[in-house]
């Protein structure tokens, strides 16, 4: 049966206001079942407060073949990083 059920990708947001983060995938017959399966598979250990599911076929992804034209040009642009500031010791999460 599994081969009949489409693949879904699962995104979970944690309790501390983080963004939704990709946690894995699953098979389900439709969107609602995917959401429930995601709850059962990926929030068993108290991980999340919000779940997104999306059909894997609905995701448009960059191709590994295009890796260089896509990402290499930003590799030497150090001036795009805010690394020239002194960060005070009491600023967390930087």
């Amino acid at each position: 049966m599994s081969h009949d059920w489409p693949l879904y990708e699962v995104f979970v947001r944690g309790k501390r206001g983080l963004n939704h983060v990709h946690v894995g995938s699953l098979h389900a017959a439709d969107d609602q079942m995917a959401l429930h399966h995601a709850r059962d598979l990926y929030t068993r250990r108290n991980e999340g407060v919000s779940i997104w599911v999306v059909k894997a076929t609905d995701i448009t992804a960059s191709s590994p073949d295009e890796k260089d034209p896509f990402f290499a040009p930003s590799g030497d642009k150090v001036y795009r990083h805010p690394t020239f500031y002194d960060i005070p010791d009491d600023v967390p999460h930087m």
């Binding site: 049966m1 944690g14 983080l18 098979h27 059962d40 108290n46």
Partner: protein, 289 residues
């Protein structure tokens, strides 16, 4: 903050290194007064906790048997989650059932000392049977626990409050599958109907109060199961209607001289179930995990 891996990110910012992922678990009995409410017979309360605890324990055992046997991996985990929730309810209730503790009650009582309804006992069956069984069990137990939330016994009220959230999800799971299969293909419809027909003889017993249940209800501690029949019928009628199924008309399985599961009179399946559940603990009584 790490975003390499969702679980790393989720695990950050708390100190408890024992837990890899989520923390801040709730203790359902935190701050609960465990003294027996005034005017309530301690033995009655213990027996009542055994009834509710045994229902959960035996139902959990049957659900655990679906591990490695469910039709889909995703549903296998879902069923295991439900089994674990019920086991958690059983542990709290059996711990409330007297001084001898949860392990004694689970592993060292004999068949006639168990007080569960017979519904939870039968073995096997296909996925259609499982879903029918789960819908019946969860609809009944959710209705009971909802009323038990206002119990005068603070432990029962706390266990019920925890259980209501769990059972609501369990019933939702069962109802979704019942509708999906009942309103699916002709074949799945027939299998789902056969499931409800197989479960139905043990439904009436759920709503037949034992004298202890009556007494606990009179004291405001327990729930008379007869009072949840209307709600149960309403839930089942709505789900079965959506599933294009009809309520089965099948006579109830009689007890022995009027005695059923709540009196310690069980079906044949119960002995085999207990043999599996208890054999390790009895062969190695000192063993620990």
């Amino acid at each position: 903050m790490s975003t390499e891996n969702a679980y790393e990110a989720l695990a950050e910012a708390h100190d408890d290194a024992r837990w890899a992922f989520g923390t801040s678990f709730d203790d359902p009995l935190a701050g609960v007064d465990t003294t027996v409410p005034s005017g309530v017979d301690g033995d009655d309360l213990h027996a009542y906790c055994l009834m509710l605890g045994d229902d959960a324990l035996i139902a959990s055992h049957r659900l655990q048997e679906w591990c490695t046997n469910a039709p889909e991996l995703e549903d296998e985990v879902a069923l295991a989650n439900i089994a674990l929730d019920l086991l958690g309810q059983a542990r709290l209730l059996l711990a409330r059932a007297g001084e001898r503790g949860e392990d004694y009650h689970a592993f060292f009582r004999d068949e006639q000392e168990f007080r569960n309804v017979r519904l939870v006992e039968p073995a096997g069956g296909d996925f259609g049977y499982l879903i029918a069984w789960l819908l019946v069990f969860t609809s009944w137990r959710l209705a009971l626990l909802q009323r038990l939330e206002s119990s005068r016994d603070p432990v029962l009220a706390a266990v019920a409050a925890k259980g209501v959230k769990e059972m609501t999800y369990h019933r939702d799971y069962a109802a979704r599958w019942a509708v999906r299969l009942g309103d699916g293909t002709e074949y799945s419809h027939d299998r789902m109907r056969a499931g409800f027909e197989a479960v139905w003889p043990l439904v009436d017993e759920l709503f037949t109060p034992h004298p202890i249940e009556r007494r606990m209800a009179e004291h405001g501690v327990g729930v008379d199961p007869a009072t949840v029949r209307a709600e149960f019928d309403d839930v089942l009628a709505r789900v079965l209607d959506a599933a294009t199924l009809e309520l089965p008309e099948i006579p109830a399985l009689a007890g022995v001289s009027g005695k059923t599961g709540r009196h310690g009179v069980h079906t044949e399946a119960m002995g085999y179930l207990l043999a599996e559940l208890q054999s390790i603990a009895r062969a190695h009584p000192e063993a620990i995990w």
